[in-house]
């Protein structure tokens, strides 16, 4: 009973292991990068565009709209990070239809890495938007006693992101594995479809939560209006 794709090892030399998590992650990165490069080679703005460019435009404008709805005023600044998160997790889950493929997000290492990326990106965007002093002062809001709790909430948000994605992906793969030993005819296919659905929902959730955290960090605080003396 394989608990994670880390245990499927392709090649080993002493300490260095090439397990399926690393192999499939690099495969996904290759597909995403090469695909994007090939599609954006000849971009046109007239009606004669390739269907791949159309597909990419739908995806990119969809993500931009979602980022704007969350509250980030300038989505082009954030779409590089948030869009990549969404596309990577979504493609990792979609490729489950390929036989012999294990989603690399079913390993806690991958999801922890993605969550740590978000943990680093939120202060980065916050400092870029507000400056170091203002951003660090936001940890003292509403009172300075809340400083440890704010820090703990940052850490626990990251942990929750990682475990949520890992648990959803791992449970999908494990349920299919268990069902294959019990009712190997049609029920595992139904569970695979359910796994695809939860994979896409989890990809959306991951990127939306990252967007919400960044929006909370870059929210410009309106300066308090000067009090007008009533005479």
């Amino acid at each position: 009973m394989r608990l994670s794709p880390d245990e499927m090892i392709f090649w080993q030399h002493g300490f260095f292991k090439l397990n399926s998590t690393i192999a499939f992650t690099w495969g996904l990165m290759l597909v995403l990068a090469v695909g994007a490069k090939l599609i954006t080679r000849n971009l046109t703005t007239n009606h004669k565009r390739s269907r791949w460019q159309n597909l990419l435009e739908i995806v990119v404008t969809g993500i931009e709209n979602q980022i704007e709805e969350v509250g980030l005023k300038n989505p082009k600044k954030y779409i590089g990070f948030l869009g990549t998160l969404f596309l990577f997790v979504a493609l990792a889950s979609l490729c489950t239809v390929i036989p012999g493929y294990e989603p690399p997000t079913g390993s806690l290492s991958t999801t922890a890495a993605l969550a740590i990326c978000v943990l680093v990106a939120v202060p980065m965007f916050g400092i870029e938007d507000q400056g170091v002093g203002t951003y660090l002062k936001s940890y003292l809001e509403p009172t300075f006693i809340m400083l440890p709790f704010n820090i703990i909430s940052e850490v626990s948000r990251t942990l929750a992101l990682a475990v949520r994605l890992f648990g959803n992906m791992m449970s999908g793969a494990m349920i299919i594995g268990i069902l294959l030993t019990i009712t190997p005819f049609i029920f595992p296919i139904v569970m695979t479809v359910l796994g695809l659905l939860t994979g896409m929902v989890q990809a959306y959730i991951f990127s939306i939560l990252a967007a919400v955290y960044i929006a909370a960090a870059t929210r410009t605080r309106k300066p308090k209006p000067a009090r007008v003396r009533q005479t």
């Binding site: 608990l3 959730i205 939306i208 939560l209």
Partner: protein
């Protein structure tokens, strides 16, 4: 009962109870969340995009507690450190 039996029984029972409780709470609260979302959708259908998105985000947060319980159960059944340690000690004893 020797320690091996105690550890096995405790792990199995705890795994079952963890999954049982872990599915009850989130199911109840997700039902309430969806019903409230449906009510507000019926009252304001043109806010459906916002309501749907917020519903999904809320459901994911509630679901993650169920996932925590599931992960603990899986660890107890498949990657139980106490069981592994007791097992390796027992096989070392039998091998001697």
């Amino acid at each position: 009962m020797d320690s091996m039996t105690v550890i096995a029984v405790a792990s199995i029972v705890t795994a079952g109870i963890t999954t049982g409780f872990g599915t009850m709470g989130p199911a109840l609260s997700e039902g309430k969340a969806v019903s409230t979302a449906l009510t507000s959708l019926a009252q304001q259908p043109d806010a459906s995009a916002t309501i749907t998105r917020t519903l999904f985000v809320g459901l994911a947060m509630i679901e993650s507690t169920a996932i925590y319980c599931f992960v603990v159960s899986m660890i107890l059944i498949f990657a139980n450190p106490f069981w592994n340690q007791v097992l390796s000690a027992a096989t070392a004893e039998a091998g001697k």
